[in-house]
Every structure is written in structure tokens, then in C-alpha cells.
Amino acid sequence: MMKTSHGFALAGIAIILLAIAPLIVSDYWTGVLLGMTGYVTLATAWALFSGPTRYISLATVAFFGVGAYTVAVLNEALPYPLVLICAAGIGMVMALVVGLSTLRLAGVYFVIFTFGLAELVRQTVSWWEVNVTYTMGRYVFLPFEGRHIYWQLLALAVVTFLIAWTIGRSRIGLALKALGDDETVAAHAGVDVTRIKLLLFVISSTIITLVGAIQAPRWTYIEPSIVFNPTVSFMTLIMALLGGAMRLWGPLVGAVPLFLLFEWLSVSFPDHFSIILGLLFILIVFVMPNGVLAKIEDLRKRGRA
């Protein structure tokens, strides 16, 4: 294996190259990089919780949308850094409430709960806007160009990776591996299962909220059906699964090719996008149930034997 110091040096070079990219490439490609970094962050944050716990969360867009909406509501009232802090705070509190009330639900109960959460939040926000604030849709006026948003997302992606890496190496990481293997055994071995799950859920959801908040200025006009689009949850899920949710680099490996593929598909086949997305989903489950990285390891092992 590569030494950690070498790994850090390589990662550092990659980050610097990525950071100067928008000064060189066209606006179109800056936009692509931006979207890609957003999804890499979403998928990594998703896997932070769902990888080790194996709880399939479909709540991604609920938090993403809340982040975007917070910016839409507060962008003229507060300075931008404070708006981001508010968004993170709201995401965190929401994750705590959701986590405390549902993390004891296992398997399919959790899937369905998170499946509906986005829809619930969307309906509640729409209702609130129509009946209480009498607005439908809001404008976000922030003096950001694509590259400014991209740099923020890149920074968030780096932080997310550092968090995932630190957790993987810590005592919590060890407990998590036990938890993923067998929750009952882990609980008997003295792992405070619920508390660890809650902690991970809150960290993961807060990052996801921030991704939504940072991306909000990209749409100058925001309404619930735009920012609570369930496709975001599905894409995040499929990207993390394709790469392998149990590994640090898995979501990245899944998100980059899939994002490029989806970008190309939605331009070339806008009418059949959903069919292709569905077939891809089925294919991934059948061919690579544990993700690409696991598949490569498998093939390597077989090659050596």
C-alpha cells in the first residue's frame, strides 16, 4: 500500500489542480466540475452514514432542499457566511429530530420513512409559502459566478473526505465495522449502536444540507419542486453504490463517471433519461452488488490465484 504521506501529497496536488481548473477551462466545463463536485460530496456524505450502517437513506434531497431553501429565505437578510451557518444549524437540528425518532426503525421501515421525508418537507414548505408568507418561489441574488460556487463545494468535498478518513481510522470506525457486520453482536460487545448511528446521521445530513445551501445561488429562482426533486436522492444513492459505499474512495469512483454519463444522457436523450437511469440501477445491482472497487479487488484476487 501507498504510504499515507505520499497519499496526502498526491491528494494535495490533485486538489490544487482542481482548484485552478476553472481559471483555465471554459464556463461550461466549470459548470460540469461544479455539478460533479456537488455529487461527489453528496455521495461521500451519504456513504458516511449508509455505508457502515447499511441503512438505505432516501432523505438526501430533504436535507439538500432545506439547505437551498434556507439560503433562498435568508440571502438578503444576513451576510452570506452567517446564512451558511444557519443552514448547517437547521440541517443539524432536523437530522437530530429525524434521527432520534427513526433510527430505531430497521430495514425497510427506515427506507420508507426517508423516502417520504423529502415529500413531506416539500409539501410543508409549499404549504407554508402559499398560506403563511404568500410567496411561491423565491429569488436568490448573490454575487457569485460558477467558479466561486465550485471553490466552496471543492472545499466542502475536501472537508468531507477528511471527516470520513478520520472516522475510518478512529475507534468509532472500528465500532462501525462491527456494527455493519452484525448490529446485535456489536451492541453486546458494548458499542453504543444508537448513539453512533445518530452521530453519523447528523454529520452526514449536515454536509448534505451545506451542499444544497452552497449550490442555491446557481438557480436564481427557487421553488419547492426544483430543490426537492427526488432524483437527487436516487442519483446520490446509485453513485455511492456503484463505487462501493463501504470504502472511502468508493463514492468518488462511482460519482465521477455516473455524473458525466447522466450529464451526457440528459443532453442527448432528455426524453428517455429515466428509462436509462432505471436500467442502469438494475444492472448495477445485478453485476456489482458491492460496488466497483469490491469487484476490482475480486478480479485481482482471482488473477493472482
Partner: protein, 287 residues
Amino acid sequence: MLEHVVNGLVLGGTYALVAMGLTIQYGIARIMNLGFGDMIIAACFATYVLSTTLSINPIVSLLIIVPAGYAVSDVIYRVLMKPLVDRAPDDGALEVDSILVTFGLLFVIQGVLLAIFGGGYTSYSFLNTPVNVLGTVVAGNRLLALVLSLLIGGALVVILFRSRWGMILRAVALAPHSAPLFGIDTDRAARTAFAIGGAMAATGGVVVSMFQTFTATAGVVFTMKALIVVILGGKGSVPGAIVAGLLLGLVETFVAAYVDPGLTLAAVYTVFLVLLLVRPNGLFGKA
């Protein structure tokens, strides 16, 4: 008031009907089918096409669409689900895999419907004559939908609890690992259950299309409501699905009438969450 009760029961009847299909699929075949709602919508569009192009009466079209739903689901089970069942080391793994694959199915069906019919609201006119029930006026198509739901749902309950065939299915649901010891072909039972579920989805689609507008993208909401009914009633419980379905229909109709039509899903969801926290196994569930 009474008008809302009747409308709530109509809606609840259809929810109970489709939830019965889903609970049979989940309870017996152990597959959580997230494409269920899209099968319902596909049946809605099929009824629409038969009604508008060939002027086939929706009731008659049941005779075409329901067997088709059975056959299609049978094929889906053989092609997509059986390999997953064979490879899954335990029930948990099958649950996760089936959720992911049926997601794919959801997108495929939805995409096909979008490509053919577009994203707009669709409906056709059928039996839109007012009928007087206990002093309130109800649309004839709604009343028919309720009657059909009760008849078909009731027939299924009778079959499940009174026939030998139903007993085999229930045995597999109750003890999947010991059922083979009594000479029961669990694979066949699972496939049959999945196909019956598909037939119920088709039935639900035909019935719903008689009185509601639908869109190609409405499947997700149907799946969610059916799932909520299944869980409220207790996983795998048919009587639970009926009670919970009616309850949900009433809650929705009353919230729409007295609070705000935009909050129906929020209300349903709140009921779901409260019940889940108080009775984690549902109304009729066993621990």
C-alpha cells in the same frame, strides 16, 4: 360531513385494495416492490387507452388488464427477482437488493409512460352521473369504485383464508423455512404471490382511473401510500391493510376538506410516524 365520509371510504377502499397487493408481495414473496405504484399508474393508462381508442368500458377492461398484470408480474419475478432470491444469503440482503432493483423498475416504467403519454394530467369520463346515497350526492364512478374494491378485496380475503391454495400462501408467509418440509414449493408460492400482487395493482389502477386524474409521475406517491398502509396495518397482514387503508382514506379526505388540500400527505405521514412510534409493528402486526 357525510359526503366526506363517503368520499373518504371510496378513497380508502382503493388504498386498501392496492395495499393488499403490496402486502401479499411483501409478506409472501419477501420482496419490497417500490415499483408497485408505477404498475398502478400503468394500469390507469391502459384503461384510458382501451376506453378512448377502442371504447371499451373500464369494467370490461378489468378482464383484460388484470390478467395482464398477473402475467407481467410473473415474468418480472422470473427474470428480475428470482436471481436475487437465489443469491441472497439472508432476508435482509434480499430486502435491500429488491428495494434497489424495484427502484430501477420504477424509473423504467415511469420513463416508458412519460415517453408515450407525456407528463400531463390524464383522465377520461366514465359514469359521471350523480347518485344519491343516504341524502348526499356522490358521483356514480366513485360509488362503483368502492363497490368494486369491496368485492375484489373481499374475494381475495375469502380465497386466502378459505381455500387450500390460500392456506399454502399463508403457510409460506408464516414460516418460510419450515413450509418446504410439508412439501410446499416455496418458490412457486412466492412467484404466485408476486403475480397476485401485480394483478391487484392492475385492479387498483383500473378502479382509480375511473374517478381520478393521473400523471405518469404519480406512481411514487401511490407506492408511498400503499407502503404506509402496509406498515400501519402490520407487515403481511391483509385485515390490517383493509383497516389501515380505510383509515388513511378518511384522514386524507377530512384533512383536505377541513384543513388544507396541500397538507394531506403531511397528515398521513404524521399518523404514520405517531403510530410507528407507539406501535412499531402496526395495528395488526405481530412482534
